[in-house]
Symmetry: none
Subunit: 143 residues, 2 copies
Amino acid sequence: MQNLSKMDILKSYLETKGLKSTSQRDYIADTFFKTNTHISLDELLKKVKRKTPNIGYATVYRTMKLLTECGLAIARQFGDGQTRYENLPDDGHHDHIICIKCSKICEFQNQKIEQLQAEAAKKLGFTVVNHKLELYGYCSECS
Amino acid sequence: MQNLSKMDILKSYLETKGLKSTSQRDYIADTFFKTNTHISLDELLKKVKRKTPNIGYATVYRTMKLLTECGLAIARQFGDGQTRYENLPDDGHHDHIICIKCSKICEFQNQKIEQLQAEAAKKLGFTVVNHKLELYGYCSECS
DNA sequence: TTGAAAATGAATATTATTATCATAAGCTAA
DNA sequence: TTAGCTTATGATAATAATATTCATTTTCAA
């Protein structure tokens, strides 16, 4: 079992909610944590079924709902009519800057921005567990 | 009829596509242009029906598809299972914070964050022209 | 070990989106 | 203006994804 820290976060979330740990949940979560794409429920179910064929769609659905609730997954829509789940990268770098001409993508992280986000959220009564920041512009070669 | 310039953009889009101008389309578009929220099809239909009760869901649906195609509306998903249409603000840009439990959406603006974004981009040799920032967390009622 | 609480999985229900089709309305040419 | 063709409309139906139900199984704390 990889992804120990993520699994720990999940376990502690379950505990605070009075929910139980099950082999299905663990296996679905672990499988998801190993993806680095935007995976749909059907795709994840297919992956999970390779090793545990009698797992049901509903369990995958409910597990992903849990992971989303505790900030370990981000549910996104890309316009194909399906919800896709994004796994957080381990190093926490999930800000992107994308060149609108050549499509080059760079990643960056800025602690100060994250701090300001948390403050802005607090003013509105929110507690941030996750964020998605995408900048669009021209890279050095295209500007 | 307000929103003349947006209406002009729509009219010229229709013309280039060989589509026709109708009173329903005009009224739906004008009603949408007057919103400053993330409106769903049902909500927009309800608004439109106040003055023109015999308008149909399908016409609203098709009109919003057109507006999206020509860039006058942005179709967004915030996780409540409904597509919501964002009217382009006249006064610029806003960011979103979304409750991952109840799907409440708040908007906020933060000049300082935008400034830091520009700085971070500059370090990577980029010039920012646009950005998308979404925070996910718990609202005051769900935390 | 036991029993209450929660999870599972198959199936069903619900909901939003998209397509269909008969009729109505807009547009162009004469 | 009108004839004739094209597109739009609105009611409804089809589709597809998501959410719920329920009988059974599993977990976990006492």
